[in-house]
């Protein structure tokens, strides 16, 4: 159950960082999410994001910052296998499920739903 509590706290804190960026630094949601994704990528490259996921589980893997980490993970994993070209070819490796699911279901939603205002 500790795992759930940590997921709640760490996830909540990352969201608070996002809120502060928007309210205090007057960032738009797009600017804020880009900041978090790039931060996740940097931490991933430094090898610091994985330990965070070990520690907080979904609290670190659900926020968008983990997307940046996954992109870097994919790039580095492929580079291990095939050399520096792998940085280019492996980027979407890990995140493929998330992006594909988002596109597919968003499209289905456009078929079924109408904007409600």
């Amino acid at each position: 159950m500790i795992k759930f509590l940590l997921a709640f706290i760490v996830g909540g804190l990352i969201c608070v960082i996002g809120q502060i960026l928007m309210d205090l630094f007057k960032m738009t949601p797009a600017h804020m999410t880009v900041t978090l994704v790039v931060a996740g990528a940097i931490l991933g490259g430094l090898g610091l994001y994985e330990p965070l996921i070990e520690f907080a589980g979904a609290g670190a893997s659900v926020p968008i910052s983990s997307f940046g980490n996954s992109l870097v993970k994919g790039a580095l994993a492929e580079a291990e296998r095939t050399g520096i070209v792998g940085v280019l070819t492996g980027i979407f490796e890990v995140t493929s499920a998330g992006i594909s699911a988002a596109i597919i279901f968003a499209f289905l939603a456009a078929l079924i739903f109408k904007a409600k205002g």
Binding site: M22, K26, K114, A115, K116, G117
Partner: protein, 333 residues
């Protein structure tokens, strides 16, 4: 007739032969629902897109105004209209349906008074017998064009305003029993460096003050001449700022005589943050509620100062600030 630097006085005041206001579901639950001629209970109004729904409302407001005056569209000399959709397509497509010689205008949310001022000028100067002026806005269409898709989860700050879904139209003629347009003051663009599109009230207040000063200076009046001075859509934040700014500039208007359409149109409980906005805000409140009050004799002299923010999504992305404008029209019963 030119009076002062930027105002017109109409020696033989044109008459508002009729006016009409159409609204959407939010307005139907609002404080002025009784003053609307037609209210829709959903944002699509039977059309397949928000833009088509806005066009429909504009056409309905125009035909309702013509019907109430007992006139046919063939009798109208000119149709003046504007809206917020790119290239003012709502107005242009409504003009196609009406088939009246068309003068498209753009003044953002102050389009209602720019249209009314120009229509009155045409009639007073003998350049027209009958002129129809209208404007519209639609919450879904405006959010989609200027901000985000309506189902997107962005958090609006307390200074944000709610675009009114509606349309207003007024038929102006040489003589008739309705309210009379006695004067108009055309505003100039004022930009105080505000660049936050979620804070338009603050951006527009200086323009309203500038036009009010020009009006009183050109015509030699002071605020006590009017029973009510109404701003278009400054909202809670902008209206307060305008009130204080006017005092600072030596033009005090008693608080109970200084109101705002954006604050009149909705009830307290409705989640509209700082108040209503959009072309239809000043249009539906003026052409519906305020004109009804004039007709009932509750008001004798009214001054409506509609305010507009002249930005585009592109100007915002290119880090420009927001230039604003305000047009004032004096109407008497």
């Amino acid at each position: 007739m030119l009076q002062g630097h930027q105002s017109w006085v109409f020696k033989t005041p044109p008459a508002v032969l009729s006016s009409a206001a159409v609204g959407g579901p939010f307005e139907a639950r609002g404080a002025l629902a009784e003053d609307f001629d037609l209210l829709h209970d959903d944002l699509y109004m039977g059309e397949s897109s928000f833009e088509k729904a806005e066009r429909k409302m504009l056409e309905e407001a125009c035909s309702k105004a013509l019907e109430k005056a007992g006139r046919k569209k063939e009798e109208v000399n000119f149709f003046l209209s504007g809206d917020l959709i790119n290239q003012i397509i709502s107005s242009s497509f409504a003009a196609r349906t009406l088939s009246i010689p068309y003068l498209g205008i753009f003044a953002a949310c102050s389009s209602s008074m720019e249209g009314l001022a120009l229509a009155s000028l045409l009639v007073d100067s003998g350049a027209a017998q009958l002129a129809l002026t209208a404007t519209s806005s639609h919450n879904g269409a405006v959010e989609k064009q200027f901000r985000y898709p309506t189902e997107y989860g962005a958090q609006k700050p307390p200074t944000a305003q709610w675009t009114v879904t509606g349309a207003g139209a007024a038929l102006i003629g040489r003589e008739g029993a309705g309210p009379k347009i006695t004067a108009a003051t055309i505003g100039r663009v004022v930009d105080m460096g505000i660049s936050d599109p979620y804070n338009l009230g603050t951006a527009m207040a200086p323009a309203a003050v500038d036009t009010l000063q020009a009006h009183f200076r050109d015509l030699g009046f002071d605020p006590s001449r009017y029973d009510l001075i109404v701003t278009g859509d400054l909202g809670r934040v902008g209206h307060q700022i305008a009130y204080d700014l006017l005092i600072k500039k030596g033009l005090e208007i008693p608080a109970d005589k200084f109101v705002d359409c954006g604050l009149l149109i909705y009830r307290e409980e409705q989640p509209v943050m700082a108040g209503g906005s959009g072309c239809a805000c000043s249009a539906t409140v003026t052409y519906g509620h305020l004109f009804n009050r004039l007709r009932r004799g509750e008001l004798q002299r009214l001054l409506v100062v509609a305010t507009g923010a002249l930005l585009s999504p592109l100007s915002y992305q290119q880090k420009e600030s927001i230039p604003c404008i305000a047009h004032a029209v004096a109407i008497e019963s």
